[in-house]
Amino acid sequence: MAESTSAKKHLETTLLVPALRKKHYAESLTQTAGQKTGWCSNGVPSEILDAFGINAVYVENYATVCASKRLSSGFCRAGERAGFSQDVCGYARILMGYLLGGAEAPEAPYGGLAKADFLVVNSYSCDSRMGWFATMQQTLDIPLFVLDAPYQPGGGCTEPAHMVYTESQLLELVSFLEEQTGRKLNKEQLRARIDLSRRSADIQTEIYEMRRAVPSPLSAGDAYTVVWPGMYMAGTRECDDFYARLRAEVNDRIANKIGVVPEEKFRLLWSGLPFWYNMALLNYFEDFGGVVAIENAYFRNEKSCPSQHPDPIKDMAITSTMRRHYAGDLEQRLQLTLDIVRDYSIDGVVLAYNPSCRLMYLLQPELKNALDRHGIPNVNIECDMADERTYSEGQIKTRLDAFIERMLALRK
């Protein structure tokens, strides 16, 4: 296995995540008798699968695990050999390489994934997830459920038609899972998980808010790690405890003015996804007194919607039509990043062009135009988030050095 280049972690709570992740994958390989395994895309509500007692495996995360362990090249090549273009999502190529195997596929980390009984994908995040899961269905020959929801370009909305459609799709998901597991949905469990999940999400929002502090108490190197429990353990007590502990540590750092770097000279925003195979790049700025104080992927600035209905499925439908994280039209998305620049005292922006993630990638040129219009220094670096063959250390660091110099000169 190639050498890991993970980011240096500054918080003690962050150091708990690798063990949580390892445990999570180990548990998913030791299912209880009769427990079904569903491979899911991010965005499929884990609370529902958990309430069925399903072993939910979020395969995008496994792709980032492979990338962080420097295994993406071999898996991507194996996927490409089966006909998948380099244009398609790096996560998907890694997973297809893992599934299809062959001489180029390396040994799978964590002993591989639990064998899937069925697949669940959400259709509303990106094209790639749909294509990827449809092709996995072809390969594995197992049932696939597509969970749809209205797109809502203007952000959330409360139109009755949107709510009715969203509820119909969630109910169809429930029927599908009932068929797959032979069990009925435990609504009480679902309710409990939704409530817990919202509570942890709100703590996460508070932590994002706290990151406005100068010096930065928690930078992107830690942040991209601490999002993990919220994404893959949502609705559990363990997840809730994790964020409560993280909040306390961040609070403590702010109170004692403990920053990521001893003397903070500049603060950056990372726009787009990080390069999972080289997270240490996020620490690169620290040698110059800089810190990646915030990132716009996974960013949260709104608390969860309060419960709207006693029935948990109806509640999920109503609240999800009121808020949709990645939706929002272009101007709103640009404004959000400009607001982050203002609120987090940002001096410059690193625009990560991840060519195989259309969702993030397509936004970047207009974001660059907007930053230029507002006189905010920025630099674009084009590397895939997962396929490390696209990364060129020398070129990137030369660009970043020039950017830092330019940004600091502007401030004089």
């Binding site: 006909g83 509303y124 749809d148 797109y151 459609y165 039209d329 397509l362």
Partner: protein, 366 residues
């Protein structure tokens, strides 16, 4: 107006301007097969499909990155170059990431007075059809508000009739293509021109054209090919295939069969019938799962005597690129060879494709 098939696409801007001057009506640009043009037609407006040109997307390069759909980017480039300055509105459906991104980018950078985002469910289901019907009623209401005129009773039914006639005529063109009476290029140009000129005018043109074509001598058969493509908004690749000894006798393309297969059913609720046709029947891989897609590909090949297939995907078209390995395997299982291209469809690229096409056709000839 004297219409010549091979110049309809090239003259589309002049024709739209002429229509606008003559009727005082509004011209509405749109992307993709997902927008029920019938509603725009029923509102007395001219729907036109947005298309690009084979030239450097010098203006759009400032707004979109390099690894994205060249079709949408080039269409936007034409907008930035003021070639679509006669548009009164655009309608952008929720089709794919790139088209969705276009909605915001177009709105922000161009001053087209009316921009409408049409919600399209991303899954085919009965509830999806009902939801889409609601969204189409919203769209109809929006068109009425914009034009200041209610769409009269029966206007949607009339539009459906005109559009279904166009679909039947394009189907007939497809059969003449199989019979060797018209070329693949002509068939593709008929489909593309149908997207940019007033439908009734196109119907009249088609009737005359097909009558003339039915009386032609059968042309010498080339190697009979299926073309499956993501988006070819001109007939250039089909032209190269036919110059190299192929005869394109069947297609699975958004600017081809996917546009004109499946009529809108007669119904007392024409908007529901539109929702059903546009959501459930159009075989786009963004929402139709592979097995249903492959049924469509088999359907277009029926009776066409296909000897080989050319699959073309524009770069960064996730919807088609994921499908490719399985579509290829499905076609090969039928005993047919497959040639694959993935690119931007630039003129330079087409010249390099020529060698591969010649070798492919030679291989089939044996």
């Amino acid at each position: 107006m004297d219409l010549q098939l091979d110049s309809l696409r090239r003259n589309r801007h002049d024709m739209a301007r002429a229509w606008k001057n003559e009727t005082g009506g509004k011209v509405v640009g749109l992307f993709c097969c997902d927008v029920p043009e019938e509603l725009i037609y029923a509102a007395g407006m001219l729907p036109v499909r947005l298309m690009g040109e084979k030239e450097e997307a010098s203006e759009a390069d400032l707004h979109f990155p390099s690894n994205c759909c060249p079709y949408v980017k080039r269409s936007f480039d034409q907008g930035l170059k003021r070639r679509y300055d006669y548009l009164d509105g655009i309608v952008v459906p929720n089709t794919c990431d790139m088209v969705r991104a276009m909605y915001g980018t177009w709105k922000m950078n161009l001053e087209t007075p009316y921009a409408y985002f049409l919600e399209v469910p991303q899954r085919i289901s009965a509830q999806g059809v009902e939801f889409f019907r609601e969204k189409l009623l919203d769209f109809k209401g929006s068109l009425e508000e914009w034009s200041g005129r209610e769409i009269r009773d029966g206007a949607v039914e009339d539009a459906v009739e005109v559009y279904n006639l166009n679909r039947r005529l394009l189907h007939r063109a497809g059969r003449l293509r199989q019979d060797g009476l018209i070329t693949g290029v002509e068939c593709q140009n008929l489909a593309i021109s149908s997207m940019v000129i007033p439908k009734q005018e196109h119907n009249r043109f088609m009737e005359a054209f097909l009558k003339e074509a039915a009386g032609r001598d059968v042309r010498p058969a080339g190697v009979r090919l299926l073309v499956s493509a993501s988006m070819l908004d001109d007939s250039d690749l089909i032209g190269v295939l036919e110059e190299c000894g192929g005869s394109v006798v069947a297609d699975d393309m958004p600017a081809g069969s996917r546009y004109f297969f499946f009529p809108v059913e007669n119904s007392s609720d024409p908007v529901a019938a539109l929702a059903e046709r546009y959501l459930s029947r159009i075989p786009c891989p963004r929402k139709m799962l592979p097995l249903a897609r492959f049924d469509f590909v088999r359907q277009v090949m029926e009776g066409a005597g296909v000897q080989g297939a050319v699959i073309h995907s524009l770069k960064a078209c996730d919807c088609h690129l994921y499908e490719y390995p399985y579509l290829k395997a499905m076609i090969e299982d039928l005993g047919l060879p497959v040639l694959f291209f993935r690119g931007e469809e630039t003129s330079a690229e087409q010249e390099t494709q020529r060698d591969d096409i010649e070798a492919f056709i030679e291989m089939i000839r044996g």
